[in-house]
Amino acid sequence: MAIAPEKPRAREWPLVGPPIYEGSRIPSPIPTVLRVSDELREAGDILQVNFGPNHPSMHGVLRLVVDLNGEEVVGLAAVIGYLHTGFEKNMEQKTWWKAITYPERIDYVAFQNNEYVFVAAIEKLLGMEIPPKAVWMRTLLCELNRIHSHLIWLGTSGLELGAISMFWYAFREREQILDLFELVAGYRMHTRYFQAGGLAEDVPRGFYPECRKFVEWMPKAIDDYEAMLSRNEIWLERTKGIGLLSAEDAIALGQSGPVLRASGVDWDLRKAQPYLAYDQVDFRVPVYTHGDVYDRYRVHIDEMRQSTRIVAQCLDVLEGMEGEPWISDDRKVVLPPREELHTSMESLIHHFKIVTEGYRVPEGEVYVAIEAPRGEMGCYVVSDGGPRPWRVKFRGSSFVALEATATCMRNALVADLIAIVGSLDTVMGEVDR
């Protein structure tokens, strides 16, 4: 049993709403494993089933070892590691600016946010100033990426619960977002558009009008999604009251992002610890208080609306920034402009040094956290003052979200299992790294 605090915490901000259930439902002694009770094991006819790792609704290669008593889930253990690729070890071998491509591939759905968190860690160690245009463009792209990530979640989780049309609708808008990324960076995913110091290139001509079209279209698309699901009898039956997680348990289990906000915790790092331009834009943090699958769905839908608003506000600012610098002019870190290489010896030397050897980052350790689409994405970086990171460690919010499966699975049926795992919104690339 966990060591409880002597006096129970008062229900004050950021906790909102009434308690979802009394006491704690976190299994003991192993918080992430639901064990079959001895009486049940002797009395009942327990069937142990492997769910995954190659199952279409396991969001990748998650394996759940499930004990079933009839249709009831009475035991559960998650087994991960099938997608471990050693990103962190690999990044230690690369120079700082070449390592930027790795974090994007960790959570391949929230690539832009992951790229930002690593670049932000480098910039924190270097103590760099970022030009305003880069700050606003980063905010815009991170929010577009959040919509993209939520759309994939909505499409695939809907599909798993039988709402097949939802998948086609969600991927229709996802396609538009990927077209926007292609317009900006030349790549549809894994753009590598953020550079230590700012952006890799200026914003291309024609991006703002295209993005404006998307911003005007998106609210109507979200209305479509809601018309399909929010009052759909089957959807409500399968999601309401399923996979309960109380605010206290969610905090103890380190949950973040939509899972935490659906459990009645008003916590969003964009508001609590503003980074980029989030303190200069107007948006609302959606919080729901039932802690079930349906509320997690509501949080995702509302966040897409808010993100669309943020993108529109970023566009308003960016359209007035024509001709401003998009990257810092610190020549020890930032590549010199291409045209200078033909005329300036100094620029040629800087270009050569940065490309071959890489820039040096001052000694130190930092932990940078941002609100990625799935919650707190953290990056712990240690530098020894050389051109390569000494140690990089990512705090993947999907990794932590999976720890809550056993708690959410109390009294669940096997059909709810799909809904619950889906609602925790995991991307296995980030879990296994």
Partner: protein, 181 residues
């Protein structure tokens, strides 16, 4: 703000706008309970480990070597311009704490250990530590004491070695050819 009242206090650092408090490994649980209940750090965000083997030696930015002895640090001037500050012991384990209140204050609780020294488990203080500690054991070989289920998590159960250590060879697995048998 000073952290001297934290149980097992050994020192603190303030750098890059972040605060680190170093405690005795033996008193880690007391320190964690104090920070959770008295200081309000109710949220454990992450447990990060680092191996400082070869820290501050020539050509260190990266790793030590490979199975074949090939040193990818050559050629090139990859060495260090200045000597980094030496570390007290080989491994550090950092607990990144967060308080859910305005301003989102963060604190890094840190312990330093040599290879094989035990670190007490914090699963009973923050249940989320379960998988983070298994990862620290699996990838870095940190001996976590009192963990209810200390098994490998990302690597195979029968894997040998701890891949994120600096003396773990990179360069792939040895390829077996029938001619060698």
């Amino acid at each position: 703000m000073s952290w001297e009242h934290v149980p097992g206090y050994m020192g603190e650092q303030h750098a890059h706008g972040e605060q680190t408090v170093v405690v005795e490994p033996k008193q880690l649980v007391e320190a964690a309970l104090h920070l959770r209940d008295e200081e309000g750090f109710s949220f454990l965000a992450d447990i990060a480990t680092a191996d400082y083997l070869g820290w501050g030696q020539k050509g260190v930015a990266g790793y030590i070597g490979t199975v074949t002895g090939r040193d990818l640090n050559r050629p090139g001037s990859q060495g260090l311009q200045t000597m980094p500050e030496l570390k007290p012991k080989r491994f550090s384990v950092s607990y990144h704490l967060l308080a859910l209140r305005p301003g989102a204050p963060r604190l890094r609780l840190q312990v330093w250990i040599e290879d094989g020294e035990p670190v007490p488990s914090l699963v009973e203080v923050w249940p989320t530590a379960d998988w983070h500690e298994r990862e620290a054991y699996d990838l870095m070989g940190i001996r976590i004491e009192g963990h209810p289920n200390l098994a490998r998590i990302l690597m195979d159960d029968d894997w040998e070695g701890h891949p994120l250590r600096k003396d773990y060879p990179i360069g792939g697995e040895p390829v077996r050819f029938s001619s060698d048998e």
